[in-house]
Amino acid sequence: MTAERQRPAATFRAIRRIGRGLIVLLVLLSPLGGAKAETAPVILTISGKIDAGKYPDGARFDRAALLALGSQALTTETHFTRGPQKFEGIRLSTLLDAVGADGSILAATALDGYSVELPIEDAKRFGVFLALTWNGVAMKVRNKGPVWIIYPISEHPEVNDEIYSARSVWQLKTLTVK
């Protein structure tokens, strides 16, 4: 009984192993994204009203792809830290332009499920920043990474307000253009 019960499981496991191998093979063979999927994990996904021709299933970015859009340095105070902090990353508007965002609201969701909606006009108005490196260290989940939305208080003191601290999502996972 026991052996019989174990056999189908073993067979199933074998089939699953073969299937997984096939998938890996297919992914390796495919010219698009294969290498990305293996080497660098996707850290940010943008969906919603974006360029559907270019990104039919949403735009996925790994760290290098995000930085390639136009890496910048930013030194500013934040709502959640003491004193000026050094960041590297990209402006939110750069990313929105790159994906052809065409909406007025941006829903930002974090890894822990925290979600907030912010007006897209904030991006240009306050130079909203997507930080990827903090004080010279690539940001990880343990350190508010992989992406942190920063409203630069030092550039626009008026954003030192509860409304904007709520929009400053860390551990950012997805953006949805509405």
Binding site: R82, D112, V141, R142, D161, E162, S165, W170, Q171
Partner: protein
């Protein structure tokens, strides 16, 4: 002055209002900041978040251990990372986003250290050492009392913070209310002050208007009275002269015994006294007539061109009798040969006669009176009558020009006249466009000078 004061007042008012408004706005702003802080207690939530993510980490571990759907090592690692971030984030937050509580801080620091110990273990788990999961679960479970304590402290401290903020908000609101009350009171006081000022000014201007009106009335009455007086004098003087002429003529006839000698002889003396008194009275009336004419502006000058010297000679010869009787010598000291003058000859002689007569009257026996004529640098004619009598005290110099003033009656009780002479002379020379000056040191003589304007001086002997 009043305008400047009211401007200053307005400026002060504006300044006070501006500074009070500014302080109110400042306080309101402060209150807004405090209200923001009340809402801005997200720091308070972090303790609860730590508990939530701890639970999620625990359920991820359980899920993986019991192979529940959707469970994975990656999920365990992610939940650990998120919980790790929450525990380490709190101490680095800005001071106003933190609890100022040593126990909370110590608890948080301890958990932070504990989680640091787990980091290599989670890394090993991700690398594939899944058999350590039961041990990890037990170790994480041991942290539960601290996690729960942190969460409950968070709730308690948040509530305290909110209460404190509420209290300070109430205080701030009270302060704003007081300031508004003070401002309103001050505004009221200012408005009342302005109103009082306005009412006062209104009253004053009404009073001034009344005063002006009554003054104008009084002035009109005075002018009318003055005119009536002058007209009365002009008429009466004329009417008085007529009977006086009869008195003069008949008293002279009786005195001189034209129709035969008077018996007894005393009657002749009495008639002489009547004659002298009447003559004096006539002089007085003539003076009054002149004064009233001048007052009523009815004096018309009969300007004519004439030589000056004969006028002086005439006056000196006319007073010869009087001066002899008074034992005073009258001499022409200096003149301008060939000088001609444009003036009313009768009035010119009257003025000169008056001055010379006066000089004789106010001289002691043996005194000397000098008459002289000279030209000033500006071409004015100066006719000077100088005596060496006792002079006029300085305090009386101005008074002697007033009608009916007669110098010091005590010192010169013997002198005659109604005190009209100098006043008439002054008026007459003024009608000629000139003026009269009288100089005296009050001890040794008086100098009276008639100043004729240069345009009345003709052919100054050249």
């Amino acid at each position: 002055m009043a305008r400047r004061r009211s401007l200053l007042f307005l400026a002060l008012l504006a300044l006070a209002f501006a500074s009070l408004s500014a302080s109110i706005f400042f306080l309101i702003d402060q209150t807004k900041v405090r209200l923001n802080e009340t809402i801005y207690d997200r720091g308070g939530l972090s303790g609860v978040q730590i508990q939530t993510h701890y639970e999620r980490l625990m359920s991820a571990l359980v899920g993986f251990e019991y192979q529940l759907p959707g469970a994975s090592i990656e999920k365990v690692a992610l939940e650990f990372d998120i919980a790790y971030e929450r525990i380490n984030a709190h101490p680095t937050r800005p001071p106003n986003d933190q609890f100022d509580d040593p126990e909370f801080t110590a608890l948080n620091a301890n958990l932070s250290r504990q989680f640091e110990i787990f980091v290599p273990k989670i890394d090993r788990l991700v690398a594939g050492e899944t058999d350590m999961i039961p041990l990890l679960m037990a170790e994480f479970e041991a942290l539960r009392p601290d996690i729960d304590r942190l969460a409950s402290m968070t709730i308690q401290l948040s509530a305290e913070l909110r209460d404190g903020n509420r209290r300070s908000n109430i205080l701030a609101a009270e302060r704003v209310a007081w300031l508004i009350i003070v401002l309103a009171t001050l505004s009221l006081v200012f408005v009342l002050l302005i109103w009082f000022q306005y009412v006062k000014a209104e009253g004053q201007s009404a009073e001034l208007l009344d005063l002006t009106a009554s003054l104008r009335d009084a002035n009109a009455r005075v002018e009318a009275a003055s005119r009536a007086k002058s007209e009365f004098l002009a008429h009466m003087s004329h009417e008085l002269r007529t009977p006086l002429n009869s008195i003069l003529a008949f008293s002279e006839v009786i005195r001189d015994g034209v129709l035969g000698k008077c018996e007894p002889a005393a009657y002749s003396d009495y008639a002489g006294d009547i004659h002298n008194s009447s003559r004096h009275l006539l002089g007085l009336i003539d003076g009054l007539l002149d004064l009233s004419r001048i007052d009523a502006q009815q004096l018309d000058l009969q300007d004519e061109e004439s030589e000056l010297a004969p006028h002086i000679d005439w006056v000196i010869s006319l007073v010869a009798n009087i001066s002899q009787r008074a034992q005073v010598t009258v001499t022409l000291r200096e003149t301008v040969p060939g000088l001609r003058i444009l003036a009313d000859s009768r009035r010119l002689r009257q003025m000169l006669l008056n001055l010379v007569d006066n000089a004789i009257k106010f001289s002691d026996p043996g005194g000397k009176v000098f008459v002289s004529a000279g030209l000033s640098e500006q071409g004015q004619l100066m006719l000077t009558v100088e005596d060496n009598g006792r002079g006029i005290p300085e305090k009386d110099l101005l008074k002697v020009l007033e009608p009916f003033h007669r110098g010091d009656a005590g010192a010169y009780h013997a002198t005659q006249g109604a005190g009209l002479g100098l006043s008439i002379v002054r008026s007459l020379i003024q009608v000629h466009g000139g003026h009269l000056t009288i100089d005296s040191d009050g001890k040794s003589g008086t100098t009276a000078t008639l100043h004729f304007p240069a345009e009345r001086v003709l052919g100054a002997g050249v």
